[in-house]
């Protein structure tokens, strides 16, 4: 499963539930898979003082992010016996309640799928140059900070 060219992980706008369903459906023919572990990031309507987050506008240094994601993918495949690993991250304006991150790891056994999914999520949050501007209902904003 090594690739020469980094895959594009970025999608414009929110990730639709139907896209996730299609992605699951496509793995039906891979009958060596015993477990899928999926993580979905959803935009929270956080309340800060008297303001409420209406949406997050995501931007990225795309070329650099794809190179780093490629390195993360290779490290995860080297560490875990995976069948596949898919990552999708939204760019642009994503409303509260919408999905902005979709990580999907599949393996013969559940532990590898779960551990690989969790580690991929941690690494991409820490290592990918992506930023989010939390837009409040009154049109002011605050730059998102990952804790």
């Amino acid at each position: 499963m090594q690739e020469k060219k980094p895959k594009n992980i970025f999608v414009q706008g929110a990730i639709a539930a139907s896209f996730i369903a299609d992605s699951i459906q496509k793995h039906k023919s891979q009958t060596g898979i015993g477990g899928h572990s999926i993580f979905l990031g959803q935009v929270r309507a956080d309340i800060m003082g008297e303001k409420k987050v209406a949406s997050i506008e995501y931007t990225a240094y795309e070329e650099m992010a794809l190179e780093i994601m490629h390195i993360i993918r290779e490290a995860i495949f080297a560490k875990y016996p995976l069948t596949c690993l898919h990552v999708h991250h939204s760019l642009g304006n994503i409303a509260a309640g919408e999905i902005c991150l979709f990580v999907f790891a599949s393996s013969a056994h559940r532990k590898a799928a779960m551990d690989a999914c969790g580690e991929t999520v941690e690494r991409l949050k820490a290592e990918l140059p992506i930023w989010g501007k939390e837009l409040f209902e009154d049109e002011t904003y605050k730059w998102k900070e990952n804790i």
Binding site: T59, Y61, M64, L101, K125, L128, I130, G132, W143
Partner: protein, 77 residues
């Protein structure tokens, strides 16, 4: 000699622009110096510098036409 500077996230609020050309900077230390004198507020924000998509921490020489990025803390996911 000149470099292409690209700016992301919160830092754009300070520079007012997501991309600019910077002349006469031989290395990243000189670049920081020039940026901090133009945008004093920048010096109080944490960021790292990437030269041609590689993060550099030590002072690093710059070549003509290099793309240099200012990256505030990431917030993906």
């Amino acid at each position: 000699m000149e470099i292409n500077l690209i700016i992301f996230g919160k830092l754009i609020d300070i520079t007012g622009s997501a991309a600019m050309t910077i002349k006469n900077v031989a290395d990243t230390a000189q670049l920081n110096e020039q940026l901090h004198s133009r945008y004093p507020a920048l010096s109080s924000y944490p960021y790292v510098i990437a030269v041609e998509q590689e993060i550099v921490h030590a002072n690093t020489p710059l070549k003509n036409k290099d793309t240099v990025a200012l990256l505030p803390p990431y917030a993906g996911g």
